[in-house]
């Protein structure tokens, strides 16, 4: 087994373990994420609270696991949405060509030139800021999914365009294959690897963007935990130096993003 494959296997194992812990947060930790132990603010790690508590006396491990659940479940959902948009529009632009292709590519180029954070903040500002925590989670990841497609679309379009000029598609057309059948049986299987790669690439990008938005207070709202919310604890540097375990959410975030970087399909896998 090559070193690359071994690293990928380790990354998959780490991600799976973190996902299992996050999904089973209710079993792993006995406390709800919003439960306050008012006599224990900023407590050091104990057997009751393995990662200590935050400034409001909430169990940090519970918040970390529930926050991981939010980020690890919804970032892939947003990535799926953006990949779907990229797949439909990019595939159509690549296969149909002409004015349709020019229009979609012009919109894509424009979207790629926009600083995503500016647009996200502008659109998020349109929604009321005092929404319910669950609604803020949905709004944040929905916006990410709806705005994160342009770079994926470019890649899908290039792949679809190469398929448009391929011999097998010409043969299928010549043998009277219907449009839907051609898309489902000939085009989609050939785009599958590209779409899958774009899906995996988008996940860490969305995780990091959500973290930044939530740290700025325009993402997931308290008391719902997310990695971004938990990272807000790092703003008080003196508290972090006194309670170094508060850095745990950042370490988990870095670990997860690095694992995603390792499991991204390589060029050879896509070929």
């Amino acid at each position: 087994m090559s070193a690359k494959r071994r690293l990928r296997l380790i990354a998959v194992c780490v991600l799976s373990a973190i996902s299992v812990l996050a999904v089973g947060a209710g079993i792993v930790t006995p406390y709800p994420y919003a439960l306050q132990f008012r006599d224990l603010p900023n407590a050091a790690p104990t057997t009751m609270h393995p990662l200590g508590t935050d400034a409001l006396g909430r169990d940090l491990l519970s918040r970390l696991l529930y926050g991981t659940r939010v980020s690890l479940l919804l970032a892939p959902a947003a990535a799926l949405l953006s990949t779907l948009i990229a797949g439909v529009l990019g595939g159509a632009a690549g296969l149909l060509g002409g004015w349709y292709e020019r229009f979609i590519l012009a919109v894509t180029d424009l979207s790629m030139a926009l600083p995503l954070l500016f647009v996200l903040i502008a659109l998020r500002a349109m929604l009321p800021l005092d929404v319910a925590p669950l609604a803020s989670v949905v709004a944040t990841f929905l916006l990410l999914g709806l705005l994160g497609w342009p770079s994926s679309l470019r890649v899908v379009w290039a792949a679809a365009r190469s398929i448009r000029n391929s011999d097998f598609l010409l043969l299928a057309r010549a043998s009277g294959c219907g449009r839907m059948r051609m898309i489902l049986r000939q085009v989609l299987p050939n785009l599958r690897a590209v779409l899958l790669a774009q899906f995996w690439v988008s996940i860490p990008v969305f995780i990091l963007t959500e973290a930044t938005l939530s740290m700025l207070g325009v993402g997931v709202m308290e008391p719902m935990p997310s990695w971004g919310n938990l990272l807000r604890g790092l703003e008080d540097f003196s508290a972090v130096s006194a309670n170094p375990w508060r850095i745990a959410p950042l370490l988990v975030l870095i670990l997860v993003v690095i694992c995603f970087q390792f499991i991204l399909p390589s060029q050879e896998d896509l070929a």
């Binding site: 502008a122 975030l253 993003v257």
Partner: protein, 294 residues
């Protein structure tokens, strides 16, 4: 330059300018529509001020009723914007144009220095890795960029607050890893071309190969990347300026978003979009010109 070429050049330039004007109109229309239909539009907290007389409250309500027609609202917005009047910030009670004029130089300075620093670091590391160093340097530079890529820009901003480092360095740290990967791949691709291999086989020195064969091949894509890097830097400016307390456009956008100051946040987005699209157009245009020359 012959007259035919001059005409072609002018046509292309005109097309780019027209695209920018069209984008400005479209952006303004979208911004006006979004502001007009956002939740809470038309609600004015001044109506709750007990010091205001019923006549004043009625005047405020009348003003909002006049704004309720989208086309009238859009027409007024556009004609005012053409005269440099982008409206008044609801939260700061100051003209948007004045705020932008005041804060834009701060962001422009940070973004410019940030992009230059990121380019210098990324290009230097990519070139050193490609020409002179072995796998240890390659692995360590990849690890560094991978680690920076795994950090949210807000965390990088916090780190720089604690280090008391300048804002442009934080922007450079966010932009660097993305640039490094692109530049390294572009240079590596150019370095693997058959004519470069032939030059190496003939014993030509690495510096000469790089300057005479690799750079001309990668130049168009590298120039196009300048535009993209400016977009990335402007995006990074929001969390970095907000957390580093730098009084630039990014911080203004953030405070406007927190106060739901929609006219301000929408106008800022349109202005930043126009700047980044203009930079991308210039970079794309230059890249095409270089590609034609080479």
């Amino acid at each position: 330059m012959s007259s035919v070429k001059k005409i072609q050049w002018l046509r292309r330039l005109l097309r780019h300018v027209l695209v920018l004007v069209g984008l400005a109109l479209l952006g303004a229309f979208l911004a006006a529509t979004l502001v007009r239909y956002s939740p809470g539009y038309g609600v004015d907290e001044r109506e709750l001020d007990p010091r205001l007389s019923p006549t004043s409250v009625e005047a405020i309500r009348k003003q909002h009723r006049l704004d309720s027609n989208l086309f009238r609202y859009y027409g007024e917005y556009l004609s005012a914007a053409a005269q440099g009047d982008f409206g008044t910030s609801q939260s700061l009670q100051r003209p948007v144009f004045e705020l932008v004029k005041e804060r834009f130089p701060v962001t422009a300075h940070s973004v410019l220095f940030g992009v230059v620093t990121a380019w210098t670091m990324a290009f230097a590391l990519a070139v050193i890795g490609l020409l002179f160093c072995g796998w240890i340097f390659e692995v360590s530079s990849t690890l560094l960029s991978g680690l920076l890529l795994a950090l949210p820009s807000a965390v990088i901003a916090l780190l720089f607050v604690h280090l008391r480092a300048p804002v442009f360095l934080a922007i450079a740290m966010v932009t660097f890893p993305k640039l490094f990967r692109f530049i390294r791949n572009l240079l590596a691709h150019a370095y693997d071309q058959p004519h470069v291999l032939a030059a190496r086989a003939r014993g030509i020195g690495p510096v000469r190969i790089f300057l005479c064969h690799v750079i001309p091949l990668a130049a168009p894509a590298l120039v196009a990347l300048v535009g993209v890097s400016i977009s990335i830097a402007f995006g990074a400016a929001v969390p970095i300026e907000a957390l580093c307390d730098s009084a630039g456009i990014g911080q203004l956008a953030w405070t406007a978003a927190l106060n739901r100051d929609l006219p301000l946040v929408m106008n800022l987005t349109v202005i930043v979009t126009l700047i980044t699209v203009a930079c991308n157009s210039v970079a794309g245009y230059s890249a095409k010109a270089i590609a034609r020359e080479t």
